[in-house]
Point group: C2
């Protein structure tokens, strides 16, 4: 007897959530997905709680009306600032990436001190600090506002011009030095680095070469995907088929830009994107 | 007999237009202003023509209903993508910064080749290319998408950490090198550099140290202010009083952020900001 197909809605302010969708496609081979990128109003990371909550609730309702039985908020800023507002506005279960990220840190950290790199808005919300405290850890939250624009411009190790990726490397060094100074001041010894923004997995290699060898780097895409699989009782992945054909893509800004930029985050071509208007 | 006070609406996607407002306050000492920063939906520079036009028209209508008798679109992206749409949607005269910028270049360029630094959306619109061609010049339009985030983070010469301003300097060098290579390929010899984004005046000193000594750097804030003064037949400034008390400030996102970031662009404190909701 085959299980009914489950439909999962995935929401992000733009493209970063596609790193989470990628993990979901791999972990849940029988599910169907609808991904909504609110690209006309990105980035959320520099906006206020009220504005982010209003945007995120509109998007969550749209995914629910599209038939989603489960919502993944694949955006750290929206998870930090709007998770309660989203849960109050829809009937289906809602999972944010911050709780799952904190869970994964709690499973591996020995020093119980965690370094979190994130956007301004996520840091100012102290959502990671609260989630880590609930799990008996301390979080050093470091805002890295320039990383999203650098990643979206493609100034990563994938860039053919090494002078451009060198700029991003330099910016990362400055942020990590600031974090190290703050950790020393606070008497903290982080042994775990949590990527608190769904864009940052694209800098994972670069980060690996800049942090001490004993520092574990965690991104919440994998842990989020495993958590969804467990909660839905979905069969574990038996193959590595992660075709994006099982996903409907919606974007609030240019579909061409979503296709070209999004493919880099998803790791495969995005063939069809529908434009939608959320009235913003 | 005293002239009736004229009310001028100034629109930008966020903060950069405050460099234009600053010039207007200086040039039009008897006018009153209303500045609208659509900060909940910035940046416009990475969004599509349709989206930018929709946002800009909503904002222009709001300024007209607030009593503006004249509108200044102090945003290059909106001037490039939405000027016609704005003019069709309001009854008052509308001035964009691109025409005035091209006019100022036409007045000084000897080689008739102009280098324009701007956002992605402004470059892709080729609005400067068209405006320069109409004036018998060629424009080399160079997209510099990382400059706005770097300026908004304050990684300019005003930053107390020279390692941070050095990153911006390096990014500028890479953009200027790309532009120089493209100019050589096209057989162009620009002698004039037009700042095609209202954020860029904050990098004027840094740019001055990176371009050849004979290159003139122009920003459209001053020329725009003089044009408005001329068109309105307003008296020339007799004092240097440019108090922001003659301006009402409206923002679609956090008023605190508008005050702290905006004061840097305006060059003086912004005391009171009203939050408005454009339904986005």
């Amino acid at each position: 007897m085959s299980q009914p197909v489950v439909r999962i809605g995935v929401f992000d302010s733009g493209f970063g959530g596609l790193t989470v969708l990628r993990a979901l496609l791999e972990q849940l081979p029988a599910a169907e997905f609808c991904y909504l990128g609110d690209s006309a109003r990105l980035p959320y990371g520099s906006k206020s709680r009220e504005t982010v909550a209003r945007y995120a609730v509109e998007s969550a309702r749209l995914l629910e009306s599209d038939g989603a039985q489960y919502l993944v908020i694949a955006c750290n800023t929206a998870s930090a600032l709007a998770l309660d507002a989203i849960r109050e506005s829809v009937r289906v279960p809602v999972l944010g990436v911050i709780e799952t990220g904190a869970d994964s840190a709690a499973a591996v950290s020995v020093s119980r001190d965690v370094l979190v790199l994130a956007t301004d808005a996520t840091v100012q919300s102290h959502a990671y600090g609260a989630a880590c405290a609930e799990r008996g850890m301390r979080a050093l939250e470091q805002a890295c506002p320039l990383l999203v624009p650098l990643i979206e411009e493609g100034w990563t190790t994938a860039n053919p011009d090494p002078e451009r990726s060198a700029v991003t490397r330099r910016v990362l060094q400055l942020y990590l030095a600031e974090a190290a100074a703050r950790a020393a001041d606070a008497g903290m010894t982080p042994d775990t680095l949590l990527l608190g923004c769904t864009h940052y997995p694209l800098l994972r290699d670069m980060l690996g070469s800049l942090v001490p060898a004993n520092m574990r780097i965690l991104d919440s895409a994998q842990t989020t995907a495993r958590r969804v699989q467990r909660e839905l009782g979905a069969p574990a992945a038996s193959s590595s088929s992660a075709s994006s054909r099982r996903c409907r893509f919606l974007a609030t800004d240019s579909v061409e830009k979503f296709q070209s930029l999004g493919s880099r985050f998803l790791g495969q071509p995005i063939r069809e994107v529908e434009h939608i208007d959320l009235g913003g």
